[in-house]
């Protein structure tokens, strides 16, 4: 098939092909860029790659993160105190790619900063910096067409989200529109640590699986190795943890070994995703 050989695949496609071949699950980290400083974000990304993380979602801090719980809200506030912008994050990624960091990196941003930056310019700059895709939690496929088209020109993925409240029709439509992978939001509600997983995750993943072969990743409310292991046992291709990692960062703010401690926690989650 033209365009499907390995050289033409982007980092995301290569990663999921590899994951499936090895019959393990991808472990994906979300962090807010610039929390607490951009230089620490850079070190964390390098550390995560070393610890075996498969993909990283780079959160763009936003003043009004309405899909996020208190942990990520606080992370956003810390980053905004340093006036971290989309431009800074592009610079960070450019640097990392120069240092041969090859882990797939996906921009995770609310739509307003993206809109303000300009979607045309953003697609070009994301590609130039070395990002691989975009997730926008407040941009459903109905509104995403323009950005999607711009990203496609550079072979960048626009991944959409499916929620527990998505109707079968919407599941089908989103699965069709989503590029690179599909993000399944495991529960109604905002991001953040929860004691238990939603009861219907397994069933919802199978529902998505029935309509698409694209990789499916599961996030929102996943916070410990046990939960990562449980989801890794389902038919999804990967698990995302965000708030629980930011909690560790928050607890170690100002400490010299923040990066190492966060790395230790992340490594336990990585292992859980590979023991299936």
């Amino acid at each position: 098939m033209p365009g499907r050989n390995k050289e033409n695949m982007n980092r995301i496609a290569k990663k999921f092909a590899d994951i499936r071949k090895k019959k393990v699950k991808a472990f994906i980290v979300y962090i807010t860029c610039g929390d607490p400083r951009l230089s620490i974000t850079e070190k964390l990304i390098i550390e995560f790659e070393k610890r075996g993380v498969d993909m990283i979602e780079l959160g763009v801090p936003f003043s009004d993160p309405l899909a996020d719980g208190t942990t990520i809200q606080r992370a956003s506030q810390r980053a905004l105190r340093n006036k971290i912008s989309l431009k800074d994050i592009l610079g960070l990624v450019r640097n990392l790619r120069k240092k041969n960091v090859e882990i797939p990196l996906v921009l995770f941003s609310y739509y307003n900063p993206v809109y303000k930056y300009g979607v045309k310019k953003l697609a070009r700059d994301l590609d130039a910096a070395g990002l691989d895709g975009v997730i926008i939690p407040d941009l459903p496929p109905e509104e995403g067409k323009i950005l999607e088209a711009e990203l496609a020109r550079y072979g960048l993925d626009m991944a959409y989200l499916i929620a527990p409240t998505s109707t079968p029709q919407r599941v089908k439509m989103i699965a069709r529109e989503s590029d690179g992978f599909i993000y399944y939001v495991s529960r109604t509600g905002t991001t953040g640590r929860k004691k238990t997983l939603a009861k219907d995750i397994r069933q919802k993943i199978s529902q998505i699986r029935r309509v698409t072969r694209k990789p499916v990743i599961v996030g929102f409310g996943v916070s410990n190795p046990e939960q990562v292991r449980m989801i890794s046992g389902m038919a999804a291709d990967g698990v995302v943890v965000g708030s629980a990692i930011i909690d560790v960062i928050e607890k170690n703010l100002g400490k010299k070994d923040l990066v190492k401690r966060t790395g230790n926690f992340v490594q336990r989650l990585v292992r859980a995703s590979k023991q299936i």
């Binding site: 309405l66 899909a67 307003n112 809109y115 303000k116 989200l161 499916i162 989103i174 109604t188």
Partner: protein, 395 residues
Amino acid sequence: MNLPDRKGYFGGFGGKFVPETLMNALDELAKEYNKVRRTKSFKEELNYYLTQYVGRPTPLYFAERLTKKLGGAKLYLKREDLCHTGAHKINNTLGQVLLARRMGKTRIIAETGAGQHGVAAATAAAMFGMTCEVYMGTEDISRQRLNVFRMKLLGAKVIPVTSGSRTLKDACNETIRDWVTNVRTTHYIIGSVVGPHPYPLIVRDFQSIIGREARRQIIKQTGKLPDYLVACVGGGSNSLGLFHPFFNDKKVKFIGVEAAGFGLKTKKHAATLIKGDIGVLHGSLGYVLQDKDGQISLAHSVAAGLDYPGVGPEHAYYKKIGRAKYTAVSDKQALQAFNLLAETEGLIPALESAHAIAYLKQLAPKVGKKKTIVICLSGRGDKDVDIVTQYAGKK
């Protein structure tokens, strides 16, 4: 005019920029609303409550002494301050509670700034035996204490919001977070013509009773259409309610008055249409106060109900096509107008509505005695007596 279009756009503004979790709820709401908006039984039910409970139609009052005092155009006040609960907000909350009931939702949530929408939501929920929780910024809780007390009396739970600006913007954020979590059982009553489609449409339709009545009344009283319509604009529901039924009356000019706060040259204002640029806030694309990175700015107004960095997408459209003009008056001008209306007409306006009154000082003399202006007196000012006293003390 048949806007919004099917996707919820008013000529490029609007849409649905929300998490996927809410998309189905919005679709269902749009479907239900489209079904009932033309249904006789729904219209009759709403009309019954608007008449017997809210006290509609509200009068269109010729403010003779204010007209004389300002020495210009004839001024007619649309008396939404006489609605039950003291502001136009109840027109919308009653309609939405009736909708929510039809959709089988048992819990109501709402955001509030000045507390007028919160009180109106709590009232409608109380009357239909529904649970009601209202999110309110702690800054607003302290400046609108009377309304907090009223909401509690009405059986609503007032949830203080301490994040960000601690005003209306962050109250909206928290309400959306609640809705994302409890969407299966809960209906979110948005208080203005903002938010994702179909809210700007629904709220505009429910508030259009203001303009439909005013149009009838002014023709009856003066034999012709007015020359100007003037109303304050925060999110923009009372103004759009007044303007919309006059849309095709091309000679009737619309003027929306935003809050200039400490002044348009400062950063402390809420003049979104005048000073903002295009962006996405709380689910729709329109004008937003924001910085160069797309971070939402904090608005400021002495009037809590105008203290919001966004504005309804239909207003953005009216601005674009030149159908309405938008201007702004400062905190100080609004406070002066508050006193002016009280002294000349015995009417204590809400600080929000006082912005519309304040603009008359410029407009009425300028356009002259032959012209007629209809002003929306969107609410009464009992809630603001505390804050006005504080400002008076500072002088």
